[in-house]
Symmetry: C2
Subunit: 246 residues, 2 copies
């Protein structure tokens, strides 16, 4: 139920890229064509690529959730970012010799892979396409910086609230928020790994957010009951997402 129908899935990609930087008509057509060329599926809980691998293709996610993560030798794990429908993973990644993090699916996903030549052809067709993908890279970097302050300087309640606000904004751009609710297929273990908390404390923090009347979370569906209050407790400022929606 998290995977939308196969037709029109490229809409998420266009919505996301257009929110970052407007793409021309011809550019949009080229993206659609490229995306349709090689569409793949993966089940939940699969590693699409692992730290240490040689980089291969650029991946564009059409539906479902994934995450980027890094692990320490002793098993500690940090999710460094979520990958949502419409997100592009690592444009130009083929320029480096090894991958520095892993990407795992959290749900069944539909995505497309573009080989280097295909991707380079795509961005050379139209300067607005090249710029949009560049903005995607810049925005991903910006999110990563925000996560640094989230992990380094916010306390547990602020941290969890912040991640929820971010996901809400990012999902809204690609049309996956209805009212103030969205599918939230993330395990508490995953959310703990994303916020740098233990699962026990994450659970208690979620309960605190619920008790404060800020969110509802059950059956993998999250509802924000009071967005502004949630954003205030998180000190959330959406600028860093670079989604210039009017």
């Amino acid at each position: 139920m998290l995977v939308a129908g196969d037709i029109g899935q490229e809409q998420a990609v266009l919505r996301r890229l257009n929110a970052l930087r407007r793409v021309s008509e011809t550019g949009a057509a080229a993206i659609k064509a490229a995306v349709r060329e090689r569409t793949l599926k993966a089940a939940a809980g699969e590693d699409l690529i692992c730290e240490g691998d040689r980089p291969d293709n650029v991946r564009i996610f059409l539906s479902g959730w994934a995450c980027r993560y890094k692990a320490l030798e002793d098993g500690r794990r940090q999710i460094v970012n979520f990958v949502l429908p419409g997100d592009t993973c690592d444009a130009h990644i083929y320029l480096v010799s090894t991958i520095d993090h892993s990407i795992a699916t959290l749900t069944p996903v539909v995505y497309c892979e573009l080989e280097r030549a295909t991707f380079e052809k795509l961005i050379s067709t139209d300067v607005t396409v090249a710029e949009a993908f560049y903005c995607e890279t810049l925005a991903t970097g910006s999110i990563q910086r925000e996560w640094a302050i989230n992990l380094g300087r916010r306390d547990a309640l602020e941290r969890v609230a912040h991640v929820i606000c971010e996901l809400y904004e990012r999902l809204k751009v690609v049309g996956l928020v209805e009212g103030n609710s969205f599918a939230f297929p993330v395990t508490q273990t995953d959310l703990a790994d994303a916020t740098g908390l233990s699962t026990v404390h994450l659970n208690r923090t979620l309960q605190e957010l619920r008790a404060a009347g800020l969110i509802t979370l059950r059956d993998r569906s999250l509802t924000i009951l009071a967005f502004q209050a949630l954003a205030d407790t998180a000190m959330f400022n959406p600028n860093y997402l670079h989604l210039d929606r009017k």
Copy 2:
């Protein structure tokens, strides 16, 4: 004393870019020429650009240290990265509409600013130049991800050790390590903000590293007494820096 002589400062830039991805002869010449075009100086403790500003130029640092940081309304601050000689800040940044973080100098610095047109001309002269700057962007993103796991999943001792290992490797590439020592012009307050610790605890952690015989730090000079032991306690793996030195 932290600012090297004005002649040949572009060496750091070339050394760094070449470590990321080899640049052609003509590309190197173009970079040198562009860097010489507009060289600026700034004192220690200045903000070169602030969160919320409109992006202006691409900056390439020739000497001195700076940092990128983000701050919360209540004054909490997180340094999200250090900027070292040879580093380029935000290639293509002019594509987004507002800057999401600030850059402050930690020492007097010499850097150059390239306007959009100049930068675009530079990367269009030679594909190896464009690719090298792309790799710089990718490497910066990779470092940011490593910092996420550092802040989220390593304890104080591991964290501080890790940052030191990273700085050692990055400085070595640009020739700023002599033996196992390098200039370390970072205040304990700054280092605390980089590691997400309080200054008090950072101080105690440094003492622990000293007591373990891993480092020496005085008069703004840091010596690594036992690199492998330090890397082991940090669980440091340099792959994420993407410095493919032989």
